[in-house]
């Protein structure tokens, strides 16, 4: 136990009867989840968890209200929640081995992934829509480890980032302030991003607990879903999405009800797309800057220019040691920085930035080895080594799409020297080992890689290889 425990923070800071999660009515679905119903469900789960092995809770729920109830129930039972977007059986098995006493939590009777695994699991009952709780809102120590959120398993090894309850609450409160969510007019949040991804967790699971917002639990993936979800929610509406889905929504030309604000993250948004969306829907498009390591830390209105402004209470300072090392390589612009955010230890940012002042910056670009697709990061060297680890692959390389920053559907390209293997076989092997978003659109089999006498692959040779493979895909 820490010598000076931090303050206690409420599990949720919403009025009794406030709607936290909204879902489609009718049919077999239940209604909205209010503060009372949420507390009753979380308390019930905590009691159930008390009878399980005292390990962490692997939160695999699909429904956003259930994801939140899972987190809250685990907190009340003194358990840590694990959030991972990677559902591959091998990764879930590895997690269970590393976390003795782990309990998998689902909200569907037939979870195909879980059924194939031998994990102790618990299935949440449907969310009560009328239950109320007269009990006072419980508090949780701010310094309690609440969750471990994993980055994507792009290179075979997702990395877990530890989040204290204080850090999670602080970021929700700051986001609410930045996006001017006010109690007099609670916002309807429709999220198209998975709740187990850090961005989705912050905006669609945690936000409703500490800010005047109700998160949509129905489907919101295809353009028609998103339009129907927005129409089913009262104004003011906030759409939380990605550049990919924004582009699809624009192209689909479906009619949307008035949307107060659109929030985009996971990849840079093309300012032209932002401008088109603002004109079409008479709204404001904001981008959030963040990473699983630190969560959301800054925002900008895309059409207003390239400058990011940090969230209230988030400050950036130069990372002196990293910059000293980096300065040994000439012509590297920008700075490495440390992120200072409430409830979290100072964290070094992966991106080099131009720092105007501690609250304002511009991005310079990512490291050459880092590729980001569909909101997930991977190391090119890591992907290449996975390819080369396949039995029968003598040599091989992954190439990143050249336009991944502007074209969300861009995909990796892989070249392999593998005389005894078909391209399909290599792809099947890769599928078992890497995040689907980094699977190459195709594996090009070639007699040999154009290595020079030093064994390196010169940029020009790689460009030729790329051109031979068919060059750029159409946008």
């Amino acid at each position: 136990m820490p010598a000076h425990p931090g303050p206690d923070l409420p599990l949720l800071a919403r009025a009794p009867g406030a709607v936290l999660f909204r879902r489609p009515h009718g049919g077999v679905t239940t209604g909205n989840t209010t503060t009372g119903g949420f507390l009753a469900a979380a308390t019930r789960l905590a009691a159930t968890l008390a009878a399980t092995a005292p390990g962490p809770v692997l939160n695999l729920c699909a429904d956003r209200a259930q994801i939140a109830i899972g987190l809250a129930g685990a907190l009340l039972a003194g358990r840590v929640s694990l959030f991972t977007g990677d559902r591959s059986p091998s990764w879930l098995t590895a997690l269970a081995e590393r976390h003795p006493g782990l309990t998998a939590l689902t909200d569907t009777d037939h979870d195909a992934t879980l059924a194939s695994l031998d994990l102790p699991s618990l299935t949440l009952p449907p969310v009560p829509d009328t239950a109320t709780s007269a009990a006072p809102i419980p508090t949780i120590p701010a310094d309690r480890l609440a969750a471990i959120v994993f980055t994507s398993g792009s290179t075979g090894e997702p990395v877990g980032h530890r989040k204290s309850w204080g850090e999670l609450v602080a970021r929700s409160v700051d986001a609410a302030r930045r996006f001017r969510l006010i109690a007099a007019q609670p916002a309807s949040v429709v999220g198209t991003v998975p709740g187990q991804h850090m961005y989705g967790l912050e905006t669609t699971i945690l936000l409703p607990l500490h800010a005047p917002a109700a998160s949509w639990c129905g489907p919101a993936f295809y353009p028609v879903d998103i339009a129907a979800a927005l129409a089913a929610c009262p104004a003011p509406r906030v759409l939380v999405t990605t550049p990919l889905q924004l582009r699809a929504l624009l192209a689909a030309e479906v009619a949307l009800p008035p949307v107060a604000r659109v929030i985009s993250a996971t990849a840079p948004l093309d300012p032209a797309v932002a401008a088109a969306a603002e004109a079409r829907w008479q709204t404001e498009i904001w981008e959030i800057f963040g990473a699983t390591e630190v969560g959301s830390i800054a925002s900008r209105r895309t059409t207003a220019g390239p400058d990011w402004r940090t969230y209230p209470r988030v400050r950036l300072t130069p990372h002196e040691t990293a910059n000293r090392t980096a300065n040994q390589v000439p012509s590297q612009p920008g700075l490495f920085v440390l992120v200072h955010a409430p409830g979290a230890a100072p964290f070094p940012l992966n991106d080099r930035i131009d720092l105007a002042d501690p609250t304002s910056f511009r991005l310079i670009g990512r490291h050459g080895d880092l590729v980001k697709l569909g909101g997930r990061r991977a190391s090119l060297a890591g992907l290449t080594s996975i390819l080369n680890d396949i039995d029968g692959v003598e040599d091989g390389i992954f190439l990143a799409p050249e336009d991944s920053e502007t074209r969300p559907t861009a995909r990796m390209l892989a070249f392999a020297v593998a005389p005894g293997l078909s391209a399909e076989r290599i792809l099947a092997e890769l599928r078992a080992r890497i995040d689907p978003v980094f699977l190459p659109r195709r594996v090009v089999r070639i007699p040999r890689l154009p290595r020079d006498r030093l064994g390196k692959l010169p940029a020009r040779a790689l460009a030729e290889l790329r051109a031979q493979a068919g060059g750029q895909e159409p946008a």
Partner: protein, 89 residues
């Protein structure tokens, strides 16, 4: 009664290949092989692209609360059948 002819699986295969830029001949997509996961290896990003192409070509909107959604995307044949039933152009 609609005057148009039945939707052809080969046409749908061509649409899949064109919209996702796959390096395949339309005949190479087996009518009953899974489109996602193990079979053709498509993922959710592809589903979004494909939905857009289908809506442009056939005037029908895919939605994820359709209970049949998983079944619709199960194979080229099931997708073709679904398009044939619900297309508006």
């Amino acid at each position: 009664m609609s005057a148009r002819s039945a939707t052809s699986a080969l046409d749908v295969a061509r649409l899949i290949i064109a919209s996702l830029n796959l390096d395949l001949a339309p005949e190479a997509i087996a009518p009953d092989a899974p489109l996602f996961g193990e079979g053709l290896g498509l993922d959710s990003i592809d589903a979004l692209e494909l939905a857009l192409a289908i809506s442009r070509e056939y005037g029908l909107e895919l939605r994820s609360d359709d209970a049949r959604n998983r079944q619709v995307f199960a194979s080229l044949q099931s997708l073709t059948d679904y398009i044939d039933e619900t297309r508006t152009k």
